[in-house]
């Protein structure tokens, strides 16, 4: 049996496409539609109802949720960008041997083979009231009482985000840096450019695609996360994603759908802005 090349391609892509259509696109449409509907207990009543959205925009509490999420996002994004860029720059432009560069990159990736939940609990012996940090600070006589905001606080949530997400920024940036023709940098140096000038005038413009991809990863990871924030804040910090989880658990689907739509509009808006500036498909193809 032979197929025309076009039919063969369609056949090959069909299972993939079916899953994307029925498990990603259709569900998103249904979430969108359900967000405009009334609800009872564990059921969606197909009547047009604006209350789900009005509740979001009227409630001070909901505004605070979005403000918390945005504040954490800005901190996490700034720190992972600085840290990811610095380390990628070190690995690509300062480490001389390819062997050690590969080893160092591996070293950054290996912790991700451990389950996320285990990586979360690994902070307890460090940051808890009897944890190593408090023991050390008290031992040195810097503090007399253990610091309680180290664990189960916004601080620990942000710390774990940074711990888990820096690689998502570092990887794409290092990938972009690896594609820079090194002779450009040698040429700049021969013309008398200092290291800082090389970074700002050559490297940063050339790694913009990497920064864009990394930023998208950070954005979606922080905005969509309900697990880390719940565990690491001990239920004390709430975000829209957490509120959505709570409403889903209470079978209140339409309000959860409305909050999801607002979040998705925010996320897609930022991603679309980033994609207007950077052509990611070209970056992938290279």
């Amino acid at each position: 049996m032979t197929f025309s090349p076009r039919a063969a391609s369609w056949l090959q892509a069909t299972p993939f496409m079916l899953i994307m259509v029925f498990l990603v696109i259709v569900p998103l449409v249904i979430v969108f539609v359900a967000s405009f509907m009334d609800y009872g207990f564990a059921e969606v009543i197909p009547v047009l109802y604006w209350g789900n959205y009005l509740d979001i925009f009227r409630s001070r509490l909901t505004w605070d949720l979005y403000a918390t999420a945005l504040r954490m996002l800005v901190i996490v994004w700034t720190v992972t960008l600085l840290l990811g860029f610095t380390i990628a720059y070190y690995l690509i432009f300062h480490v001389r041997s390819n062997f050690w560069r590969a080893i160092f990159l591996m070293a950054c990736a290996i912790p991700f083979w451990t389950d996320g939940a285990i990586r979360m609990i690994s902070w307890v012996p460090l940051l808890g009231r009897e944890g190593l940090v408090n023991q050390a600070l008290m031992g040195m006589g810097i503090i007399e009482q253990p610091i309680s905001w180290l664990l189960y606080s916004e601080f620990s949530v942000v710390l774990v985000y940074i711990n888990m997400l820096t690689l998502a920024m570092l990887g794409p940036i290092a990938n972009s840096m690896g594609k820079i023709d090194y002779s450009i940098i040698q040429a700049a140096r021969d013309q008398g450019a200092g290291e800082w000038q090389i970074i700002t005038n050559i490297i940063i413009p050339l790694v913009r695609p990497g920064i864009a991809i990394g930023s998208i990863f950070i954005l979606t990871a922080v905005m969509g996360d309900a697990f880390i924030v719940k565990m690491m804040s001990g239920n004390q910090v709430n975000t829209p994603a957490g509120a959505i989880m709570t409403e889903i658990a209470a079978f209140q689907y339409p309000p959860a759908a409305a909050k999801s739509v607002v979040m998705l509009v925010l996320v897609i808006g930022v991603v679309a802005t980033i994609l207007r500036v950077v052509d990611i498909k070209k970056e992938l193809a290279r």
Partner: protein
């Protein structure tokens, strides 16, 4: 900068220091977990160590379920899903990747739907699937909605790996086979498959590990019975003994073994191919 023979600039030492701190930041907490999992029977969840023992590993295995919840069943539930996901991801993503060797109407749609699925926060995809099942009156269960939800996460990555693999694929090998009279089945089996095999193994491992780690999509669609990440998160909330750390040490060992076996297999395939090439040219 990295030119050999030139003296290291001061910035090198500063950046090395930053990198060392970063590695400590990544590994420090994990190393605490590994050490504390050998805590003595009277020890708690933080330092100092109260002697060394394998007590918490025995609690994990023959304990009466105190502090370890349903972890044994969760592990086997996860393994069952991981095995199916590894095979399904490999087949579906490889086929979809192969379709991109030709331009066809709809290829952009496939590409962008994969990108959308990858960058959308998992919570929303998971919620969407759960809501869809609810509206159509279907009861979610691990073998349809659960696997389906995980596929929306693993498939885009599989496709991405295929893009990378096929981007490096030299079409002249295939043309040579065609010139020698190979049909499409022979071309795939004897030319394409051996060349992209390391990539396919990579996709299989990615399918396995993404299924093992995924929680946001899975948790809303898996029906009754937690998978590993969900069970661990649930245990985390009420953890009071180092038995959690014993689980951490064992699951890390498990993942290490898996990834290293994959790397060794891929390296061996590459080496054999290298040997064959050198033997032919000699």
């Amino acid at each position: 900068m990295r030119d050999a023979g030139m003296p290291r600039p001061a910035s090198y030492y500063f950046l090395s220091f930053v990198f060392t701190l970063f590695v400590l930041f990544l590994y420090g907490p994990m190393i605490c977990v590994y050490i504390l999992s050998f805590q003595g029977p009277t020890g708690g969840m933080s330092f100092p160590m109260q002697g060394w023992s394998l007590h918490w590993f025995t609690v994990l295995f023959d304990g009466n379920g105190r502090g370890v919840g349903d972890i044994h069943n969760a592990f086997w539930r996860s393994m069952r899903m991981c095995a199916i996901m590894a095979v399904a991801t490999m087949l579906i993503a490889t086929a979809a990747g192969m379709s991109f060797r030709r331009r066809y109407p709809g290829s952009n749609f496939v590409f962008y739907s994969a990108i959308v699925s990858m960058i959308l926060p998992g919570l929303f995809v998971g919620f969407g699937i759960a809501l869809t099942f609810n509206i159509f009156g279907l009861k979610s269960d691990w073998w349809h909605s659960g696997l389906g939800a995980q596929l929306t996460w693993s498939l885009p990555f599989g496709l991405l790996i295929m893009f990378i693999v096929l981007g490096r694929f030299n079409p002249s090998y295939e043309e040579a086979a065609t010139d020698l009279g190979a049909n499409s089945r022979q071309r795939f089996l004897y030319i394409i498959l051996p060349i992209i095999l390391p990539g396919i193994i990579g996709i299989t491992t990615a399918g396995f590990t993404s299924s093992y780690q995924e929680a946001a999509r899975t948790s809303l669609n898996v029906g009754t019975g937690n998978t590993m990440p969900m069970e661990l998160t649930a245990l985390l909330g009420m953890a009071t003994t180092p038995v959690m750390f014993a689980i951490g040490t064992l699951t890390t060992l498990f993942m290490f073994t898996l990834v290293i076996v994959t790397l060794v297999v891929v390296a061996r395939i590459a080496k054999q191919r290298q040997l064959r090439l050198t033997r032919q040219s000699a």
